[in-house]
């Protein structure tokens, strides 16, 4: 087990290195560079831009170095926690993003929990009562859930919240708490608001998960050991929960890592709709204004979290499922 963990952790390093190259390429892709967009801004404000100023800016960002050197400098800084400087906000990137990344992770975790709470009972019910009215209605709901873009769901919830309850469902904090420092009251306020994105993201995920659980459980239910247990008189509920469900539930653990990228993507777009202070809106803004260090850092950090998430779920699976061999 120890060697398996070590090997997996070492295996992460090349993956992360390649992801960092991709993130850096993304920073370089848009036409023009930081200096041209800064100059455009300065000129719009009516400032005269001298040759020396341009040269100073180019030197400040080391733009005259070769691309590989620029990459190594960026990656090296990244490792030491220096994520670069946001042009638009005139602040170090690290000061802008950690709270947003934290909130994104909170929303993602809450959605995973919600997904499980919905998907596990629904999947079990749907499999045990295969081809019943319950099964059909759950299946139809799940298919609808999978087909609905989550921003549509966000818009519809906004509409219903406004029409039926006269409330605005946007935001993650009440106005009093938006800029307040972290405290118990602020955490409570967050919990009061986090359910909206949690439900929206969770429903989409739950639909897919329910289908997987149903298929797995159906496979398990047909196996001889279930017949044996039933013949020996084990009570149905206990039988199903204790044996087939335990096996059918593995994908829930093994796909936490895969759920993360989908959840990060989903939260990016519904955050724009619901105006949530997560990574999505800032990333969008950074991309629009070519604030590429900000954008690159976001992509790099979100991908790193995903890779770590995959690792954690693989390790969990190795612990939970005794059939998994490490070699």
């Amino acid at each position: 087990m120890g060697r398996y963990v070590l090997r997996r952790i070492l295996g992460m390093i090349p993956t992360l290195a390649i992801i960092s190259v991709i993130s850096f390429v993304l920073i370089q892709l848009p036409p023009g560079d930081i200096v041209t967009s800064t100059l455009a801004d300065l000129e719009q404000q009516g400032q005269q831009v001298t040759e020396e100023r341009i040269a100073a800016l180019r030197a400040m960002y080391h733009l005259d170095d070769s691309i590989p050197v620029q990459y190594l400098r960026w990656a090296g800084n990244f490792l030491t926690g220096n994520l670069g400087y946001s042009i638009r906000y005139q602040q170090p990137v690290s000061r802008l993003i950690w709270e947003r990344i934290f909130l994104t992770v909170v929303i993602a975790m809450a959605s995973i929990l919600f997904t499980w709470v919905i998907a596990i009972p629904a999947g079990i019910l749907s499999a045990v009562r295969q081809y019943s009215a319950t099964d059909y209605s759950l299946t139809v709901l799940a298919l609808l859930g999978m087909a609905t873009p989550n921003f549509m769901l966000a818009l519809v919830m906004m509409y219903l919240g406004y029409e039926w309850f006269g409330i605005s469902v946007g935001g993650l904090f009440s106005p009093d708490f938006v800029d307040a420092p972290w405290s118990l009251a602020r955490i409570g306020d967050l919990l009061k608001h986090v359910w909206v994105p949690m439900v929206i993201l969770g429903l989409g995920g739950a639909a897919g998960m329910m289908r997987v659980l149903r298929a797995n459980l159906l496979d398990e239910l047909r196996k001889p050991y279930v017949v044996t247990a039933r013949a020996k008189g084990v009570r149905p509920v206990r039988l199903i929960l204790k044996y087939p469900v335990r096996l059918a539930i593995n994908p829930f653990i093994s796909t936490i890592g895969w759920m993360l990228p989908a959840l990060f993507s989903g939260s990016a777009i519904i955050s724009v709709v619901l105006d949530l202070p997560t990574t999505g809106p800032l990333l969008l803004e950074a991309l629009m204004s070519q604030d590429m260090y900000l954008a690159g850092s976001f992509i790099m950090i979100l991908s790193t979290l995903t890779v770590i998430g995959t690792l954690i779920s693989d390790l969990l699976l190795a612990i939970v499922d005794p059939r998994i061999r490490y070699e």
Partner: protein
């Protein structure tokens, strides 16, 4: 029943597919959608940029059969009569029951170029004598939403197909190489797939499409977005193809083909490919919804397709905030089309998956 024993694989698959009722219905819906967008210039009562200044942000008109003169033989619509709310300055619309406008088939209207070639002005349906028909309402410039959804479908529904064909090529080539040759090519491809799958898709799409030059023409942006969508979409298909190649490589019929002296391309294209083509088609069908949703999401955020191109995502952009959603809920209708299209593709994929291996059971 006896001829089942000698039926070809494709015939068995068709028989199996037909048993999945929902999949058959969905296939019908999809065919209907594609026919509609193929002939959208004719079916749409108005052109894509036609404005009706008498009906700005007007709600959908109802098709009616009952007028003050009793039941009518042919459906008709009432025009809107507009008043402005003195407090909110909001436009309020009431049906103007003074004149009923019968809906006629094959009326002359805005001229258009069918498929960009044939100048014509015939529309499938419309009204005459000063009436207008906006079945799905209008947007803030008074453009007919029904017509725009049809034109938007032409972009949104084809972007999935074009994207999937690109994905197809990438997935089969890379997955095939990995599976057939194995060894370091396989591990390299596997690593690549892992890396791409661990980057959150939407942020990466956002970054890539933000880097498309803003001065590009609409068509170039369309292809740019398609390439971006399929650049990340091939991984799933490559995995399927690789797995199939790995398992087929050891099969008796492949080994004997090789021993009989068939060259590599013959072994691959003549013997291996046909035996898992059905699986590939299934995966491809399942990949289309992701592309449609991706385009919709990007355009909705304003970094995908941009006006004057019309797609379902571009149309949904008008419903981005809750004022719009609460005052003009009909602007969400393009979303309904997205949902139906995605649902139909998923169900057809479901049916195909069951049918893909007709020799099971």
């Amino acid at each position: 029943m006896t001829d089942l024993a000698v039926a070809s694989q494709w015939r068995l698959m068709w028989l199996r597919f037909r048993r999945h009722r929902l999949a058959v219905v969905s296939a019908g819906v999809l065919v209907g959608f594609y026919v509609m967008v193929l002939f959208c210039e004719i079916i749409a009562p108005y052109g894509v940029d036609d404005r009706n200044v008498q009906a700005i942000q007007a709600p959908p008109q109802r098709l009616r059969l009952l007028s003050s003169e009793g039941i009518q033989f042919r459906p008709f619509v009432y025009n809107h009569s507009m008043t402005i709310d003195p407090h909110t300055w909001q436009r309020l619309y009431e049906p103007d029951i003074a004149a009923a406008h019968t809906v006629r088939f094959f009326v002359r209207g805005t001229s258009y170029k069918f498929w960009g070639l044939l100048a014509w002005d015939l529309h499938l349906f419309g009204t005459a004598d000063g009436g207008y028909i906006h079945l799905f309402g209008t947007d803030k410039l008074g453009r007919d939403l029904f017509s725009r959804i049809l034109y938007g479908g032409r972009i949104s529904l084809t972007i999935g197909l074009v994207g999937v064909s690109l994905t197809f090529v990438l997935g089969i080539l890379l997955g095939g190489f990995a599976g057939y040759y194995g060894g370091w090519i396989d591990s390299l491809t596997q690593r690549m797939i892992e890396v791409i799958q661990s980057i959150p898709q939407l942020p990466l799409w956002m970054a890539l499409s933000a880097s498309l030059p803003p001065e590009w023409s609409g068509l170039s942006i369309y292809f740019g977005i398609t390439v971006i969508l399929s650049f990340l979409g091939w991984t799933g298909l490559a995995r399927v193809v690789r797995g199939k190649f790995l398992s087929l490589r050891e099969e008796d019929f492949v080994v004997s083909a090789r021993l009989l002296g068939a060259d590599q391309s013959r072994v691959i294209f003549r013997h291996m490919l046909p035996s898992f083509l059905s699986h590939i088609i299934t995966s491809a069908t399942m990949a289309v919804p992701g592309m449609i949703l991706g385009e919709t999401a990007l355009s909705f955020l304003g970094i995908g397709l941009r006006p004057p191109i019309v797609s379902w995502g571009v149309l949904l952009q008008q419903a981005q905030n809750y004022q719009a959603v609460s005052l003009t809920p009909w602007l969400l209708l393009p979303g309904l089309f997205v949902i139906v299209a995605v649902l139909a593709f998923n169900l057809v994929g479901d049916g195909l998956r069951d049918a893909a291996d007709p020799y099971q059971h």
